[in-house]
C-alpha cells in the first residue's frame, strides 16, 4: 500500500520533470560533467596501461636505480626524480619567503593606489607562457649567472663544498632551473597568501593594536598565525606547479640524466626527460619507461596538490588556521 503510493508519487514527479524537460536538461548537463571524470579516468588508464612493459620489466627498481641508458635498455628514474624534487625545493626556498612578503606588503602596507597595479603585475607573471621564461633563461639569465655567480662561487666556495663545485661549462644546471622555476611559482604563492591574509578578521588585528603592538607585531602575531595553514597550502600549490613544469626546466637544466653533488652541474627533471626523449623513443621499452615516469610524476603532483587544497580549503571555509 505504502510502496504503491510512493511509486505513484515518484512516477508523477518523474512524469512532471520529463514533461517540462527538466530531467532531460539535467541528464544532458550531467553527461557533459561526467565527461570531465572520463577525461581524468582516461589519463590514468592510458598511462597505467602504456607503462605496463616498464612496470613488469623494472617494478619498484625503476624508482631506485640511477642508470638511464636507452641504448642498453636500462631505465632507472632516480636521477629524474632527484632533479624534479631538488629543483622544485630550490624554487620553493626562493619563492616562498618572497611570495609571503609580497602578500603582506599588498595587504597591510601598500598605498591603496598602488595595490591594484602591483597585484596585477605579480599575477601577470603567472600568465606568461613557460617557453618565454625558458628563452629568457637561455639568452639572458644563464650568461649572467655563469659569469657573475656560478663561476666565482665554484672557484672559491666550490673547491671546499661539493654542492657548489665546478666546472660550470655552459651554465645550465639545477640551481639555474630552480631560480627560473621560483620566478614562475612566485605569483601562485603571493596570490593565495594574499587571499588568505585578506580573510583574517580585523578584530584580531585591533586586539593586538590595543595591546600596543607595532605593525610588524600585528602581522607576526595576528595575521600570520591565523592564515598559516592557507599560506602553507599556497606554497604546496606552488610546489606542485614547479614539480610539473616542463618547458622552462627543459631549456635551462641541461637534460643529463645523472645525479651530481653539485648544483651547477646539468641534471634533468621527470617532465623534461619525457619532453626531450618521448618524440624520439625508438623501442617499446623506452617509451614505456617514459610513460611510467609520467605516471610517477602525476602521482607526486597529486599528493602535493591534495595537501595544498586541503589546507587552503580549511582556512577559507572555517576561517581558522591551525
Amino acid at each position: 500500500m505504502r510502496t504503491e503510493i510512493q511509486t505513484v508519487s515518484l512516477r508523477s514527479r518523474l512524469g512532471r520533470q520529463l514533461q517540462h524537460g527538466d530531467l532531460i536538461f539535467r541528464i544532458v548537463a550531467l553527461l557533459f560533467a561526467v565527461l570531465v571524470v572520463v577525461l581524468l579516468g582516461a589519463i590514468i588508464a592510458v598511462t597505467w596501461h602504456g607503462s605496463a612493459d616498464a612496470r613488469h620489466a623494472f617494478g619498484w627498481r625503476f624508482l631506485t636505480t640511477s642508470v638511464w641508458n636507452p641504448v642498453n635498455g636500462q631505465f632507472g628514474a632516480l636521477p629524474a626524480i632527484y632533479g624534479t624534487i631538488v629543483s622544485s625545493i630550490i624554487a620553493l626556498l626562493f619563492a616562498a619567503p618572497l611570495g609571503v612578503m609580497i602578500a603582506i606588503f599588498l595587504n597591510a602596507l601598500c598605498p591603496a593606489k598602488l595595490r591594484m597595479p602591483i597585484g596585477m603585475m605579480v599575477e601577470l607573471l603567472a600568465a606568461i607562457p613557460s617557453v618565454v621564461y625558458g628563452m629568457w633563461g637561455v639568452f639572458v639569465f644563464i650568461p649572467f649567472f655563469r659569469s657573475y655567480i656560478s663561476t666565482p662561487i665554484s672557484k672559491t666556495v666550490g673547491s671546499a663544498l661539493p654542492l657548489f663545485s665546478g666546472p660550470v661549462n655552459v651554465g645550465r644546471g639545477l640551481l639555474v632551473a630552480g631560480i627560473i622555476l621560483a620566478i614562475m611559482i612566485l605569483p601562485t604563492i603571493a596570490a593565495i597568501s594574499r587571499d588568505v591574509l585578506a580573510v583574517v578578521p580585523n578584530s584580531q588585528r585591533e586586539a593586538m593594536l590595543a595591546l600596543g603592538a607595532t605593525r610588524w607585531e600585528v602581522i607576526r602575531h595576528a595575521d600570520l598565525p591565523y592564515a598559516r595553514a592557507g599560506i602553507v597550502g599556497g606554497m604546496m600549490l606552488g610546489l606542485g606547479r614547479a614539480l610539473g613544469e616542463t618547458m622552462a626546466a627543459t631549456m635551462v637544466i641541461g637534460n643529463t640524466p645523472k645525479i651530481h653533488a653539485s648544483l651547477f652541474q646539468p641534471a634533468t627533471t621527470a617532465a623534461s626527460l619525457i619532453a626531450s626523449q618521448l618524440p624520439n623513443a625508438n623501442t617499446e621499452l623506452h617509451s614505456s619507461a617514459l610513460i611510467f615516469l609520467a605516471l610517477v610524476l602525476f602521482l607526486i603532483t597529486l599528493v602535493a596538490n591534495s595537501i595544498a587544497r586541503a589546507l587552503v580549503w580549511r582556512v577559507s571555509r572555517t576561517g581558522s588556521g591551525a
Binding site: H20, G21, I24, F25, R26, A29, F32, A33, V34, L35, V36, V37, L39, L40, I43, G50, G99, M101, I102, F105, L109, I118, M120, M121, E123, L124, L125, A127, I128, P129, S130, V131, V132, Y133, G134, M135, W136, V138, F139, T188, A190, T214, R215, W216, L237, G240, G244, E245, T246, M247, M251, I274, A275, L278, P279, L290, I291, F298, L302, N305
Partner: protein, 289 residues
C-alpha cells in the same frame, strides 16, 4: 632602572618593526624586477624581428652568416590558430555544461566527485596530458598530428572553463531564478534564458582565459604535434605552433632563427597578456587557481 629597560625593549621593537616593513617592500621590488626585465627584453628583441615578411612567409632555409632570410612564422601562426581553435570548439561546450551542472545542481554526490576531478585535472602537469595524447593517438596512428595536440589542449582548457562558469553562475542572484520559476518557467528554461544570459560575459572570460593558457602551452605539443617547417592546414599531420617554434628556434645555433624565436615569443606574450589584461579591466575577475 625599569624605565631604561622598557625603553631599550621598545627601541628594539620599533627597530624590528622598521626592518621587517622595509624587507617586505624590498621583497616586492625584487619580485617585480624579473617581470619588468622579461617583458622589456621580449618587447625589445621581439619588435626588432617583426616585419611584414615575418608575418606572411614560412620557413626559408638559411646558412651561417646570413642576417635575414626573408622567412617568417606564418606556418606557426596558422598552426596555432587551427590547433587551439579546434580544441576550443570542443572544450567550450564541455566546460560550460559541466560548469552549469556544478552550479545549478550542487550538493549531491555526483557534483562533489566531479568538482574533485576538475581540481585534479587543473593541477595536472601538462606533459602528462601530452603523454596521454601521445599514447592514445600518436602511437596508434603512427603519426604525429595537430589533432593529437588539440586533444591534449582540450584536457587543459576544460577545467579552466568549468571553474569560471561555475563561479560566475553562483554570482547570479537567486532571486532572478525564483522570479522565473514563479512565472512558471521550468528549471531548464530558467537556466538557459535567465541565468546564462546574465552570466554570459563571465563565461566568455573563462573561455578567453582558457584560450590564452592553451595558446602558450608548449610541452604537450612537443610530444604530439612535433613541428613542421611547411605551411599546412592538415590537422591530421605534423603542424607548427608559435610556442613550439619559439622553443625549436631557441635551440638552433643560427642567430637568425634565435631572433625569429623572439619574434614568436613576442606575439605569444602580446596575445596572452593582452587577453589577461583586457579580461581584468573589463570584468575584474581573476583566472581560477
Amino acid at each position: 632602572m625599569a624605565q631604561a629597560f622598557v625603553g631599550r625593549r621598545y627601541r628594539r621593537r620599533v627597530l624590528v618593526n622598521r626592518l621587517m616593513l622595509v624587507l617586505t617592500v624590498l621583497a616586492t621590488v625584487i619580485s617585480l624586477v624579473p617581470l619588468v626585465l622579461i617583458i622589456f627584453y621580449v618587447a625589445q628583441q621581439g619588435i626588432g624581428s617583426l616585419s611584414i615578411d615575418f608575418l606572411t612567409h614560412t620557413f626559408r632555409p638559411i646558412s651561417f652568416g646570413t642576417t635575414s632570410t626573408g622567412g617568417g612564422v606564418l606556418h606557426a601562426i596558422v598552426g596555432t590558430v587551427i590547433i587551439v581553435g579546434f580544441s576550443l570548439l570542443l572544450a567550450a561546450p564541455i566546460g560550460i555544461m559541466a560548469g552549469i551542472y556544478l552550479a545549478e545542481y550542487p550538493g549531491n554526490t555526483a557534483s562533489t566527485a566531479i568538482r574533485f576531478c576538475v581540481d585534479v585535472l587543473s593541477a595536472m602537469p601538462s606533459i602528462v596530458v601530452g603523454v596521454t595524447a601521445y599514447v592514445l593517438i600518436v602511437q596508434r596512428v603512427k603519426s604525429f598530428s595537430g589533432f593529437a595536440g588539440s586533444v591534449a589542449l582540450i584536457v587543459l582548457m576544460v577545467p579552466i572553463i568549468t571553474r569560471t562558469t561555475e563561479e560566475i553562475l553562483r554570482l547570479v542572484p537567486q532571486t532572478s531564478r525564483e522570479a522565473a520559476i514563479a512565472l512558471g518557467a521550468p528549471k531548464w528554461r530558467t537556466t538557459l534564458t535567465i541565468v546564462l544570459p546574465m552570466a554570459l560575459s563571465g563565461i566568455a572570460t573563462g573561455v578567453l582565459l582558457a584560450f590564452a593558457r592553451a595558446a602558450g602551452e608548449t610541452a604537450p605539443l612537443l610530444v604530439t604535434v612535433l613541428g613542421n617547417n611547411n605551411l599546412t592546414y592538415d590537422l591530421f599531420g605534423p603542424m607548427q605552433a608559435l610556442p613550439l617554434l619559439a622553443y625549436r628556434y631557441t635551440e638552433q645555433p643560427y642567430k637568425v632563427l634565435n631572433q625569429q624565436a623572439w619574434g614568436a615569443a613576442f606575439l605569444l606574450v602580446v596575445i596572452v597578456l593582452g587577453i589577461n589584461i583586457l579580461v581584468r579591466i573589463f570584468t575584474r575577475t581573476r583566472s581560477p587557481r
